[in-house]
């Protein structure tokens, strides 16, 4: 396995922390950014994030990182499956 591919698959912890902060601010979640567990589902009861929030998060990601989310329903479920999956997607596609 080359170094480059290792770098691509290792989680970008700094980006994850930054994005957690953006999400908490954008959705006015009543929790600290650190409380978002990187590998846990974003959707659902714990954070109370629903599909309307997902549209809001997508707007923030496009403004902050220049990434327009684009996904069919299966990819959408994967990318928003966790903060880590979302950060990995943004890391790969960011323009800013």
């Amino acid at each position: 396995m080359s170094l480059q591919s290792t770098a691509q698959t290792a989680p970008d912890l700094a980006l994850e922390r930054e994005m957690a902060g953006l999400i908490v601010t954008a959705l006015n979640l009543d929790i600290a950014a650190e409380a978002i567990e990187p590998t846990e589902p974003l959707y659902g009861d714990k954070l109370g994030i629903d599909s309307i929030d997902i549209l809001e998060i997508a707007l923030v990601m496009s403004k902050q990182y220049g990434v327009q989310m684009k996904a069919d329903s299966e990819d959408n479920a994967r990318i928003f499956g966790s903060l880590r999956a979302l950060a990995s997607y943004i890391g790969e596609h960011r323009a800013k």
């Binding site: 599909s51 997508a58 707007l59 327009q68 684009k70 996904a71 069919d72």
Partner: protein
């Protein structure tokens, strides 16, 4: 009454849909419908949970061809599906997913790899009055209720709508819809409109702005975008390039004049608003940038009897009562006054939640908001309203000052609960039970000593 062919007579080679990059002709669609109809196991009713709009349509028409009723739940939530299954015995689950999309029902997976070569099979004739679909009300006025639709009447309603919409758009369109296909609006405008009314069907149900742009771009012009006010606002906010759109169709929640105008300026096309309900289907249209008056579709007329407004016409087997208060201008045109279920009376003064909600939403700085009537315990002389408001830049005083300028002080909310967002469903509605939960959490629990 008479029978009608399952599908309209059209040029068999005319493009109907685009499935995974390949053009599907009308003839191919028809063959796939008849092939699936032949393959379906005998059953009384099917629950159609296909996720792709094209296979949803193939499954719907295959069931109709076989005389099988299609049941369309209004959500895929397990508790709702269980309630539907309990009420509709003998259900067979139809889907285009590898794994069954719901538990506890026999599953028939639609073969989406089926040959698309044309098979010649005669189209069956379907009796005009045969009930082919069971649609559930969305529950914004209570619990979901089943409502049955007859084949010929559904088709007539679609043809009347097509005439109106194609005229505004300049001809039959490629239809791209962001709306749920199992709700009446999405079923009529994104599935049945291209089938019965001519035009082409997009198989996607795009969500993100870029997905909407891509779904539009892959379809041939002219294009019709079928959307809700909430989604339309987010699409404009994303500020991305969109391919030319011939018309935008909006329904499920009132479209503000401001959003309608923004849309017409940005997209350079007419915005058409549909008035309807699960019970009535699409009933009237208007172009909110040009008129406040709604014009009924086809031969639908409205009449007031016993203080209620009733819709009648060939599309209805029996007259259907409206959920709203309307001002009739003629039997076929009206102004919307109110949603009846939302009438409120505070200290002897009458208003409506829809009016109050519209006033609240129109205040500068208010992003979303809803009034409600918390059922507080204990004796009260006056029933007071409360409101949940999304307005990050406002405080209680500025919000109250804004409201006071437009509404009678008795209707000012006590309390105002500032929230980060309001949980609207796929159609932009806040369900009654969702509102009840909010009231419990933010108002009743808080007041409990």
């Amino acid at each position: 009454m008479s029978s009608l062919p399952l599908l309209p007579a059209t040029d068999p080679q005319a493009p109907f849909a685009l499935y995974r990059g390949a053009v599907v002709s009308r003839e191919c669609f028809q063959s796939q419908v008849m092939a699936l109809a032949a393959a379906l196991p005998a059953s009384e009713r099917v629950l159609n949970l296909c996720s792709d709009r094209y296979w949803f349509a193939v499954s719907l028409f295959a069931a109709i061809a076989r005389g099988i009723m299609t049941v369309l739940p209004n959500s895929a939530a397990p508790e709702h599906l269980a309630a539907v299954a309990a009420e509709q015995p003998g259900l067979l689950l139809l889907g285009d997913q590898d794994a069954a999309p719901a538990d506890h029902l026999p599953y028939f997976r639609v073969d989406t790899a089926a040959s698309n070569s044309a098979i010649s099979a005669d189209l069956p004739l379907i009796p005009f009055d045969r009930l082919v679909a069971c649609v559930y009300t969305s529950g914004s006025t209570g619990t979901p209720k089943p409502h049955y639709k007859a084949f010929g009447r559904l088709r007539l309603g679609i043809l009347a709508g097509a005439e109106r919409i194609w005229e505004a758009a300049g001809g039959p369109c490629s239809v791209v819809g962001t709306v749920p296909i199992r709700h009446m609006y999405g079923l009529e405008s994104s599935v049945l409109l291209p089938i019965f009314g001519g035009g082409r069907m997009s198989t996607h149900i795009p969500f993100f702005p870029l997905d909407i742009a891509a779904s539009l771009a892959e379809m041939a012009a002219p294009r019709l975008l079928v959307i809700t006010p909430f989604h339309l606002r987010k699409l404009l906010e994303a500020d991305i390039a969109l391919p030319p759109v011939a018309a935008v169709l909006s329904a499920t929640a009132p479209l503000s004049a401001e959003l309608a105008q923004d849309t017409e300026v940005r997209l350079g096309c007419p915005v058409i608003e549909i008035y309807g309900s699960t019970e009535t289907g699409q009933l009237a249209t208007r172009q909110p940038c040009r008129e406040t008056v709604w014009h009924n579709l086809g031969d639908i007329t409205l009449a007031v009897r016993d203080g209620e407004t009733w819709a009648q016409g060939t599309v209805y087997q029996t007259p259907q009562m409206l959920n709203d208060t309307v001002e009739l201008l003629s039997p076929s045109s009206f102004r919307l006054v109110d949603r009846k279920a939302n009438m409120v009376n505070v200290a002897g003064k009458r208003s409506s939640l829809s009016f109050l909600n519209a006033t609240l939403a129109a205040l500068p700085g208010v992003e979303d908001g809803v009034f409600c009537i918390p059922e507080r315990h204990g004796a009260q002389d006056v029933e007071r309203l409360a409101a949940f408001v999304v307005a990050p830049t406002l405080n209680r005083e500025t919000l109250l000052a804004g409201l006071r300028a437009h509404i009678d002080p008795v209707f000012l909310p006590r309390p105002i609960v500032f929230v980060d967002s309001l949980p609207r469903d796929g159609n932009g509605k806040i369900l009654a039970r969702t509102l009840d939960t909010l009231i419990q959490q933010h108002i009743l629990d808080r007041n409990t000593p």
